[in-house]
Amino acid sequence: MNKRILLLTVCIIMLMLLSGCWDAKDIEDLSIPIVGGYDLVKNSTGEESSMGNKVAVTGVFPLFSPDIVSSATIATNIAKTIGETRTKRALRTPQQQLFGVLQAVVYGEELAEQGLHNYLDILYRNPHIKLNLFVAIAEGKAEELLKNKITNYSNIGDYILDLLRNSYKESFIPSVTLHLLMLKSYSTDKNPIVPIIKATENGVSIAGVGIFKADKLIAKAGIEEARIISLLRGEKVEGIIPFTVKDEEEVIDKGSVNIKGSRKVDVLRKGNDFTFNINVKINGQLIEHYNKKPLDKKSNLLKEIENSIKLDIESQCIDFIEKMQNEYKVDCIDITRYAMAKWRSELKDKIDQGFIENVTIKANIDIEILRNGELE
């Protein structure tokens, strides 16, 4: 009895083995895009509907053949849907395509202004694409950005990747992943901010952040503004702030502080009036200052430095909040969710219409310089 079972199993297994392995695709036969760029191609009739436009997909494909000098090809395909561009690419590429290794995605400015929702779907639906690939907006067209020549780096894909990966550590620009983007564009109470990159002579640099309402880009903020937004958002805030200490219109000290920030938000409600208190706590390390006076307990210099930074940031915050409420009219500092946390069912439908403009937002900054480096 056991023998017969064994024979049967063996026959079945042989049958399966002999019919071939379906999924084997060797690695050198693959064409692997690591960075994808998406651009809007307007219809010739000038229609603005999001369904009618075509999309240009640019991919950075590292090359495996050792005899070829340049290490990546960058190719663009235009079609009505992203899936169709894949077909067009397949017609031109000798290798099979594999999308699971995608590391970063760049969207053109125009496309972002129209709305990213349609173009995120294919990425999210694909089970192989990882959800923490980096997202950035290109100033202008993504295609031109990706075809920019770079020197001293393997290829532009790696360059953008490393740039986006490390952006949050030093310059107040957040690293946004696909997961965060999807989450925040689908949830009612969250709006993402995405780094904007632009092409320079020898490479790519970050130019600021883009402010989104759900999935549409509505405004671009420069580096200075991005700093404030980041501080107010309170997520992974790290970077360098310059300061000047003035003593009756005379600058007595200049320098910079390397800071880390966090925040706490609470909401008070009176009837239909909401007041948000954002308490930002900043810890810093002094990295340079020009005045030779020592920073010990006797002199007040350290306190003055802290004070000047505090006042400076507070005034910038007030300016920004006003701009946000009047011009952008969108909650880009992620405070609505605290109100939702308390009155979710009530506010769910009201958030999108005129909520953030009519609330009071106060920012309180608390700064403390902990270390002075090696010198006193």
């Binding site: 079972i5 199993t9 399966m16 999924d23 923490n132 949830s187 969710r337 308390k342």
Partner: protein
């Protein structure tokens, strides 16, 4: 002490068999089902829904205590006579086979989606069914040992979720209790497929060496499962939020896609490797139960014919698993199986208990 009888299990293995009962297809889409009606209070539904299997456990244990050496088909034969008893057994067999088939089918769908895209579904199904046959052919001792060994992959999988918490927002859970009791209870009802594990006791009870601690073991098993379910639901809610959660078919797998770890990199694919083993358990537990019940249904001798019946059961499962055309149909079947649980897990023991009281009353009169 020498050679184990192949149909005995220890009570520790009993716990693991119960745990392995339904952490299969049920748990993958659990957060989505829980938050459909109850929104951010889905986890409360999951917590409350632990009581249903508890009631079922107590009822079944009470029944099996009266007939400690008999499994389901023997109990029904005794209580209702051969004809009606066989109908009950048939219903039970159909229920267990459907559970295995849906569980396997869901697993094969996931494998097809994530791991082997172009391999035809019947081939993957065939390998899995061969594995199941091989395991159950040798009796429940092997089933118990397998469950014991594979259980530890579950806490490992849960630990791997922890890095994803860096991308979580706890305010998604607040305010607590806003959904209201009615919605929470509605969600409990929707989760009924994930309750199914206590019907296994009907067959495994007579195989236990010591029957004194069944309730304690059952409570431990249910406790562990409830903890796992609540943990996953809470994790899904804080990481995804209730709105995005409705769009995701398998929230459990997507939990792993959020963050990278050095070396392993893609945690979700690594998790699926572990999942192959974890999802094998309910299939094996229920297949064994079907096979055993069929053997008794046909009045065959265990030692001689169990292997043959196992193979036949495997083939039946293979055929039934191929019937649904896509995942949506499988979900429909799962909803009906959820209702089936109330019959098999709660209805059956109540009917049997009443019948046994009735029978006792009759005999005492005589």
């Amino acid at each position: 002490m020498k050679i184990d009888t192949s149909f005995q299990i220890t009570d520790r293995q009993f716990i693991f068999i119960l745990i392995g009962g339904a952490t299969g297809a049920g748990i993958l889409s659990l957060p989505r089902l829980a938050t459909q009606e109850a929104l951010q209070d889905g986890w409360i539904s999951v917590l409350i829904s632990a009581f249903v299997p508890l009631i079922s456990l107590l009822l079944i244990e009470r029944l099996c205590r009266i007939y400690p050496k008999y499994s389901l088909s023997e109990i029904t034969d005794k209580l209702f006579g051969k004809f009606v008893g066989r109908i009950f057994t048939l219903g039970y067999i159909a229920y267990t086979i459907l559970i295995v088939s849906t569980s396997i089918r869901v697993f094969v769908e996931i494998t097809s989606l994530y791991i082997l895209q172009r391999t035809p579904t019947p081939v993957i199904l065939c390998i899995y069914v061969i594995f199941i046959i091989y395991t159950i052919m040798n009796g429940s001792t092997l089933v118990g040992r397998f469950n014991e060994l594979v259980f530890y992959l579950l806490p490992v999988s849960l630990l791997l979720i922890l890095p994803s918490f860096t991308a979580s927002t706890y305010t998604n859970l607040l305010p607590i209790g806003e959904a209201g009791l009615i919605n929470i209870l509605k969600a409990c009802f929707a989760l009924s497929y994930s309750y199914s594990r206590t019907e296994l006791i009907f067959v495994y009870y007579p195989m236990l060496k010591q029957k004194t601690r069944v309730v304690r073991d059952g409570v431990i098993a249910l406790g562990i499962i409830t903890f796992v379910n609540v943990f996953i639901t809470i994790a899904s809610i804080v990481i995804f939020g209730t709105e995005v959660l409705q769009k995701i078919i398998w929230p459990f797998i997507l939990l792993y896609k959020i963050v990278d770890i050095p070396v392993i990199e893609r945690l979700d694919l690594f998790f699926l490797i572990l999942w192959t083993a974890i999802a094998a358990r309910p299939s094996i537990n229920y297949s064994f139960v079907s096979s055993y019940s069929i053997t008794q249904f046909l009045n065959l001798k265990l030692e001689k014919h169990f292997s043959a019946v196992s193979i036949t059961t495997g083939i039946i499962i293979f055929v039934v698993a191929l019937i649904p055309k896509n995942v949506q149909q499988v979900f429909n079947i799962i909803t009906y199986l959820g209702y089936g649980y109330f019959i098999a897990g709660i209805g059956y023991p109540i009917i049997f208990l009443l019948a046994s009281l009735f029978l006792k009353g009759r005999t005492t009169k005589k």
